[in-house]
Subunit: 372 residues, 2 copies
């Protein structure tokens, strides 16, 4: 009989935790006993898994007794406190927080990219930042073929990357903005026509009144974009931008690879998109890059722009593949390519990647086409 595992999901009521439960079930991970853990505030709620519901228990050290595998997605503070405790009690931890990602003894894994780095783990494996995972799934095969020399990336990140509350912020602000516009532009008029003297522009551009509810994101996100993801550091970059630099270097095993990122939040619920420019050491034609991406594990090349075929975040949402398109020569530099990526930040950017790591750990075959 195949072995089954006692699994704990920490942060089971959050945006990523919810997705972890869904992905474990979808991929038929061999769960023996499931323990769903969260803060005391959520204890007693029931969450669905595989057709049944499970009561959420309060996260404590002893929650991990008898647990084989713990998937953490409850923020860095909780991970710092409880992940080592879980390891001490015999669990293997896959941690989705940033707490341990850059620790030298902690493997930071994207299964399509560096599965070999799992060997010799000490019970704790880190799941990379969502924007980094989504970027590296398609860049890794190009790196193997032609050696990346520099990466420049501008992100278009969905609000779900900041958790379920940020999704509610977008929803509530959008409702409020629409009410506001309609109150002022009473009888907005026939479709496509604004009534005489009515300035749609002035109306719609105006920031909406500040919500009485606390904001999760640092500014209005409805009908706006915010060039800040996570907090600012001394060097005027955000922590998200630093993660994309440092985690990329660690995962690719290229500790000095030049990477520059500008991370921006956009009013999209799910899926991060990225405009990426790469330079390679060796020449890499567009055609060869396309051929590499067409057979790269975890990648779906959607690149017939003249027919409107390019990745969209609403299309990537719910998929495990990272969608890649708009692949073209960057004529502004030697050995340059530009591409456009959309990937589900809750799935491949978080939950799916974590479950894939668990599958690697347990030696389970997956349905994806890893090159290992």
């Amino acid at each position: 009989m195949k072995r089954r595992y006692n699994v704990a999901v920490v942060g089971a009521t959050g945006a990523v935790g919810t997705e972890m439960l869904r992905v474990l079930a979808e991929r038929r991970f061999p769960v023996n006993r499931l323990r769903v853990l969260a803060s005391a505030r959520s204890a007693g709620r029931r969450v669905p898994f595989n057709g049944a519901t499970h009561a959420v228990e309060e996260l404590r050290g002893r929650s991990f007794d008898g647990i084989d595998l713990a998937l953490f997605s409850a923020g860095a503070t909780r991970s710092l406190e409880f992940a080592p405790e879980a390891v001490r009690r015999g669990a293997v931890v896959v941690d989705n927080s940033s707490a341990f990602r850059m620790a030298p003894n902690v493997p930071l894994i994207v299964p399509e990219v560096n599965p070999e780095a799992l060997s010799g783990h000490r019970g704790l494996i880190a799941n990379p930042n969502c924007s980094t995972i989504i970027m590296l799934v398609p860049l890794a095969p190009l790196h193997r073929a032609a050696a990346l020399r520099r990466i420049v990336v501008a992100t278009y990140q969905s609000v779900s990357g900041a958790g379920a509350k940020a999704m509610w912020q977008l929803l509530n602000e959008t409702k409020k903005a629409l009410r506001h516009y309609e109150a002022r532009g009473s009888g907005l008029g026939a479709q496509g026509k604004s009534p005489k003297g009515f300035s749609m522009k002035q109306l719609l551009a105006r920031p909406i009144a500040h919500s009485p509810q606390p904001r999760v994101l640092p500014a209005q996100i409805a009908f706006n974009v915010i060039p800040q993801v996570d907090v600012f550091l001394d060097n005027r970059s955000t922590r998200e931008e630093l993660k994309m630099v440092n985690e990329t270097r660690k995962i690719l095993g290229e500790p000095r690879l030049p990477v520059s990122a500008t991370c921006v939040r956009v009013p999209v619920f799910v899926s991060h998109s990225e405009a990426v420019w790469i330079e390679t050491e060796r020449p890499l034609s567009r055609a060869r890059a396309a051929a590499l991406l067409r057979r790269a594990p975890g990648v779906k090349l959607i690149d017939d722009p003249g027919r409107g075929a390019y990745p969209l975040p609403i299309q990537a949402a719910g998929q495990d593949d990272v969608l890649v398109g708009r692949l073209r020569r960057d004529e502004s530099v030697a050995h340059g390519l530009a591409l456009w990526i959309s990937g589900d930040n809750l799935r491949k950017g978080a939950a799916t990647n974590a479950v894939q790591i668990a599958e690697l750990l347990t030696g389970i075959r997956y349905r994806t086409r890893f090159g290992i």
Copy 2:
């Protein structure tokens, strides 16, 4: 007595035309007689100007008899047909379409950047592409100081760049999406909490049903981003991306400057934002770049990110200044800087720039601080 001018605005009912009328009035352009022109469809409508309303007349060749200055914003086809006709009848034309921008004898002007290129014009002056104007207002002083060697830019462009109908598309799709979500998630529940078993994510990520109304933009824009602005060309770039390359080179007088652009539509009503990376020939420290931008005409430096001070499109809307922030060293390359820009695409990106050109032509002093 100061001279006053007979002015025609072509495309007066469109998103940019409406703004042209507003900007002419705001800046007290010395209008003697105003003629507002549009297609036959709009003839007879009345549009506001300076406290009165003016009847829209159908655009014809003879519309330009007696006109001193014609501001065109009715698309390239109309400009190709009527702008030379207007010049023949004695008007000076400032054309906001792409029709003549790259013609060798047509000056392409951003008044803060290359006012000297106006001299020797032959009656037709082109107003550049909105994304290009917004990018070059802050980049020009950096170019003068340290010589640009390469520009990489990812845009976050508002729907108003595609005209008023695209603004209605965003509004209508957003309403429809909200109705859709609420119908399915009946009792979405208390703020910040989703009811048990209700997957906000699956609901919100789903593309909304195709609208029976014709789409202006090539895909759903509500809660989505679209990596296509304008049409695709043979080299897999869009025409918008090509405009940013070619117009930048012409305006800066650097015919071979390496420029790479990825242009993306975002669900914002007004103001384009841009993540920009530059490399310069000569070293340019962040501090010196900030000092240059602080006194650059048409630029407002908003750059105290730790206190949440950075440009936002909702903040740029309605302003003539281009907002610049997130200025920082790009450590991934020699002599690299990264910055973030937001500017009102209907004002500085179109109407204000056109009226500023008219002011240059007529020798009027403006209230902005041009370095000329």
